[in-house]
């Protein structure tokens, strides 16, 4: 889901989708417009041209009818046929031999060339028959006289009747749908019928009249006046009543050409054959004809192909244009992560080149700005630390010096020297030594000196013990971190000469240095202990550094990696736990090379 939104949201998607939709829209509208227009034109022109072909069928059927009419007349007026069909008595054998030949000759003369093998049966009332073909009659005479075509002919002897029949009078017509054309021959004077001519045509015989009209999408029907299909290329319809849907559509309409509109889009051609008393219909399926005219799959294939090519082109060009932008986006992500070295190569379109130049320039700017900021911060912090280190309380020095004076007065020489040594060492380490980091060993020494001075001044009711793991000794820590807590314990945990111990534990736990300063003094409530961290110290103490200063420094130096906790229980004591990253002294030497340099400079002043 998110991916899909990415595609549609991206610049690429915004170009691709409208182009795709546009192409589809153009293809569809143009195709349909062209198809619709040409369909109209086609239906009209094709229908009109087929109408001409159709008229030819009509003419040929009429010509055929005329030929048949001529033949009927020829038979009727042939003396040979008359003699053969007329006489009731047996003819002389020789006369008959000649008569038979003459009938054949008369009929041959009357037949047009396309009637060569036509099935002509002439049936006389005197039980004589003449069959033009080398085959046998498969019905009895009575049955023939009873058949519908003969009866029609007898009822209406003036015209030729076209009838469809399943099976004819001869062997070759057996089981076939044939057209039987019947005509009665009669004496002009009396009107008495003496013979019937029956012409049998197969569907194949008829087909030559309309074959050139037939295609995959046009068909032909010839029906008699009752709507019985005499012949058609649709063999299933032959012999039945024509009940096609288009029949009902055109049945009560005037005209020769119709275009049905009931969803099938047929052009129906209609002609009435007056002489034959028949109708002929030509049906053109315009949909199918158009289907043949237009190669729809090809049309669609071309549309799809062109669309695909255009889309691939769009795809290619946009992705090429977008490539530098995508790269830029990637680089910007890295900048976010703090890597300012990711410059853009200047290439691609002019806009993109401008963008790259500007971006690179901006990147340079940001980098120099941040470097500057870092330097300023560094200097500011160093200055702050210096300032803190300078906060050795002058009162403490006066008071300590006053204590030493009293010791000199008391004459305790040894003790005095000890006191002065400790004091000198303390001052050197705190004031003279500008290093921010000292080893644990030095810190312990400082604390020892501080404790010694305090015990000299106030008595040794509070004892201080160090428990430092050997491996901690070389670790580095910021100086003057522990002193404020020890001082705090001295002056607040043991009021009014109370005796007690302060234990200082230092150990390495994993990557960290853990220090705890635990006293067994009066303690306090936990909420007060938390406040204690933020309180300022009194003037007479060694340094002005409050416990809150310690916490600030640690967070300045280490960030979240250092922490200070105080836990206290009333009358039980207070424990201050400090955790800070353990740094070995060798390592720190490199780190603080710069600061060493500044200290030397200061010494020189």
């Amino acid at each position: 889901m998110k991916k899909a939104r990415d595609i549609f949201g991206s610049l690429f998607g915004r170009i691709f989708i409208p182009v795709l939709l546009g192409l589809v829209f153009i293809s569809v509208t143009v195709s349909f417009t062209v198809l619709y227009m040409s369909r109209q034109v086609f239906t009209d022109t094709y229908g009109a041209s087929q109408e001409k072909v159709f008229s030819r069928i009509e003419k040929e059927l009429d010509d055929f009818h005329d030929d048949l009419q001529d033949m009927m007349t020829a038979i009727d007026s042939s003396w040979a046929f008359r003699l053969f069909l007329d006489s009731k008595e047996e003819m002389d054998n020789m006369d008959r031999f000649r008569n038979i030949y003459q009938m054949e000759a008369d009929l041959e003369a009357a037949k047009s060339s396309d009637m060569e093998s036509m099935n002509i049966l002439v049936l006389g009332l005197n039980d004589r028959h003449y069959l033009s073909r080398t085959e046998t009659i498969s019905m009895t005479d009575d049955a023939i006289w009873e058949s519908a075509p003969v009866r029609l002919a007898v009822d209406e002897p003036d015209v030729m009747h076209y009838q469809v029949s399943h099976g004819g009078y001869t062997a070759t017509a057996k089981g076939r749908d044939v057209i039987i054309i019947s005509k009665a021959l009669y004496y002009q004077e009396t009107g008495e019928i003496y013979a019937v001519v029956l012409i049998t045509l197969t569907q194949d015989d008829m087909r030559r009249f309309y074959d050139y009209f037939i295609t995959d999408y046009s068909s032909f029907y010839m029906t008699d006046k009752e709507g019985m299909v005499l012949c058609s290329d649709d063999r299933a319809a032959v012999g039945g009543k024509n009940e096609a849907s288009w029949m009902s559509y055109i049945s009560d309409r005037e005209g020769d050409r119709f275009i049905t509109e009931d969803g099938t889009n047929l052009t129906v051609l209609r002609r009435e054959l007056t002489y034959q008393d028949c109708m002929i219909y030509g049906i053109i399926d315009n949909d199918k004809a158009l289907g043949g005219l237009y190669n729809m799959p090809l049309l669609i294939f071309i549309c799809v192909l062109i669309s695909a090519i255009v889309l691939v082109l769009v795809l290619f060009l946009t992705s090429r244009a977008m490539l530098p932008l995508a790269r830029l986006a990637g680089k910007m992500t890295k900048v976010q992560e703090g890597d300012f070295m990711e410059y853009m190569p200047v290439e691609g379109t002019s806009e993109v080149r401008n963008l790259a130049v500007t971006y690179n320039y901006m990147l340079d700017d940001i980098k120099s700005y941040i470097d500057e900021l870092m330097n300023t911060q560094q200097e500011k912090r160093t200055a702050e630390i210096k300032a803190l280190q300078m906060q050795i309380n002058p009162h403490y020095i006066y008071n300590t010096l006053a204590s030493i004076k009293w010791m000199v007065y008391a004459g305790d020489r040894e003790k005095t020297i000890k006191m002065i040594d400790a004091f000198i060492s303390l001052l050197r380490n705190t004031i003279s030594n500008a290093d921010e980091f000292i080893t644990v060993k030095q810190e312990v020494e400082n604390l020892n000196n501080y404790t010694l001075i305090n015990q000299m001044r106030y008595g040794d009711t509070v004892r201080v013990a160090f428990h430092v793991e050997d491996e901690c000794m070389d670790c580095l820590m910021p100086k003057m971190i522990l002193q404020p807590f020890v001082e705090n314990a001295f002056f607040h945990a043991f009021p009014s000469g109370r005796k007690g111990n302060i234990n200082i534990y230092m150990e390495k736990t994993g990557e960290n240095l853990a220090v705890s300063i635990a006293d067994d003094g009066v303690g306090m409530k936990q909420d007060r202990a938390d406040m204690e961290l933020n309180r300022d110290t009194k003037k007479e103490h060694f340094s002005g550094i409050g416990m809150h200063n310690v916490r600030d420094r640690l967070s300045l130096l280490y960030g979240d990696e250092a922490e200070v906790l105080i836990s206290s229980v009333e009358n039980k004591g207070t424990t201050v736990s400090i955790r800070l990253p353990a740094m070995s002294s060798e390592h720190s030497d490199d780190n603080n090379a710069g600061t060493d340099g500044t200290e030397e400079g200061r010494n020189g002043l």
Binding site: F97, A171, T172
Partner: protein, 435 residues
């Protein structure tokens, strides 16, 4: 990664469109109006319902038992119609309604092969030419290639009704090895005594003239097949004489066309038939006449030494069309059934009275079968033996055209009997058409 969905989109679009058009195509395909003949069927065109058509149907039925997929349609046509239609289709090159197998009468074979040799399937390598009688294979052959499968022999014989002849005072032995003079005499007597005729003669079709000519080893054309041999053709002149005498003396009945010819003997109006043995199926079509018929050899002219009592009339062969819809399947069917299946031939002998046009008919089980219809004569054996004696002639290509001319001219001399004059005229016209 970004291209992938696009490619899919295009693919899906393409597949969708193609499938759409595919569907619409299929829809229009279903409604297509079929033109021409039905698909799948092997179409056979032949004539004569009791003989050739029946044979083709028997073959089709047998073939379907071993080839259930085969679909064979036998269409009854008229002989002349087949020739006209096939020639029309071949000359226009319109093959969509062309049948796959046609039967062609031997008289027409050379004509058709000369004009349309390439339209027929060459069967030379598919069938054993030596199996069939030489005079038949010659008719089916063009340029040394065999195109037809010989079917029936047209061995001519005299078929006669013993009951009618007995009524006229003739017994069976009298009809064997007759002369034409004896036959004319007999015809007259039969008509006088019984009112029936010994023969039918058709002014529009003269097979008896052809039978007589071939029995003397002559034809309308010479042995080259195209030089008209009419004016000096003694056998033809004598055959016209036979016609004239038989008609004048009421010995033969004048009939009109095939239907009259068949119904004449089927109705019992005539006591005899001289024609090819393929008529047996039509004779047998009237079961009431069973046992009343016998078969004998044809008459000869006593004074003509070359004349033998054996001849041929009609006879046909099967041809496979090369450019029809199912030519290959049709060839398999025709070759397997009509050229190789001896069992089927036995069936034909029994069912339709076929006399196979083969060199050695003794291979068939029914060769010596007695036929109760013909008073237990061994019909096949009898006719096959006659066939061996048939003089070979070259029919050429214009048999029916020349005969049309002869019929016309014959009308003019039937009264006078001036055959020389008649035949001279015929020869001039025949020479014109046979070139």
């Amino acid at each position: 990664m970004r291209r992938l969905p696009t490619v899919f989109l295009i693919l899906i679009l393409g597949v969708f469109m193609v499938s759409c058009t595919g569907q619409s195509e299929g829809a229009t395909g279903d409604g297509e109006i079929s033109t021409g003949r039905d698909d799948k069927n092997i179409v056979v065109w032949t004539w004569n319902e009791t003989f050739n058509v029946k044979a083709a149907k028997l073959a089709a039925d047998k073939y379907k038992t071993s080839h259930p997929d085969a679909d064979i349609v036998v269409e009854t046509m008229e002989r002349e119609e087949i020739m006209t239609e096939v020639k029309n289709m071949l000359s226009t090159g319109v093959y969509d309604r062309l049948p796959d197998i046609v039967m062609i009468e031997d008289y027409d074979a050379q004509d058709v092969l000369t004009h349309y040799q390439d339209e027929f399937v060459d069967l030379t390598d598919s069938i054993d030419m030596d199996k069939f009688a030489d005079y038949k294979t010659k008719l089916c052959t063009m340029d040394g290639k065999m195109y037809g499968i010989p079917f029936d022999s047209g061995t001519a014989a005299l078929f006669y009704r013993t009951d009618i002849l007995e009524e006229a005072g003739y017994s069976s032995p009298a009809l064997i090895d007759m002369t034409w003079e004896e036959f004319e005499e007999m015809s007259r007597t039969v008509h006088e005594k019984t009112g029936k005729y010994m023969l039918t003669l058709d002014p529009t079709d003269m097979p008896v003239a052809r039978i007589i000519m071939q029995s003397c080893g002559r034809w309308y054309v010479g042995s080259d097949g195209y030089t008209a041999d009419i004016a000096d053709n003694e056998s033809l002149k004598r055959s016209l004489d036979v016609y004239r005498k038989l008609i004048k003396s009421d010995g033969a009945k004048s009939v009109n066309g095939w239907n009259d010819f068949i119904s004449a003997f089927q109705n019992g109006d005539v006591a005899g038939i001289i024609t090819g043995c393929w008529i047996i199926s039509d004779i047998k079509a009237v079961p009431e006449q069973s046992g009343l018929w016998r078969i004998s050899n044809i008459p000869v002219f006593a004074d003509m030494e070359e004349c033998v009592p054996a001849s041929n009339v009609g006879g046909s062969s099967w041809y496979v069309m090369k450019n029809s819809a199912h030519s290959k399947a049709a060839k398999d069917f025709a070759v397997e059934m009509f050229a190789h299946d001896d069992e089927l031939m036995d069936t034909f002998i029994e069912e339709i009275g076929l006399i196979p046009a083969v060199k050695d008919p003794t291979i068939y089980n029914n060769y010596e079968a007695k036929d109760p219809f013909f008073q237990n004569q061994k019909v096949t054996k009898l006719l096959s033996e006659l066939a061996d004696e048939i003089p070979a002639v070259n029919y050429g290509r214009r048999t029916y055209e020349i005969e049309d001319i002869l019929e016309e001219e014959f009308q003019n001399v039937i009264e006078s009997g001036d055959y020389n004059e008649c035949l001279k005229k015929v020869e001039v016209k025949a020479a014109a058409v046979s070139k």
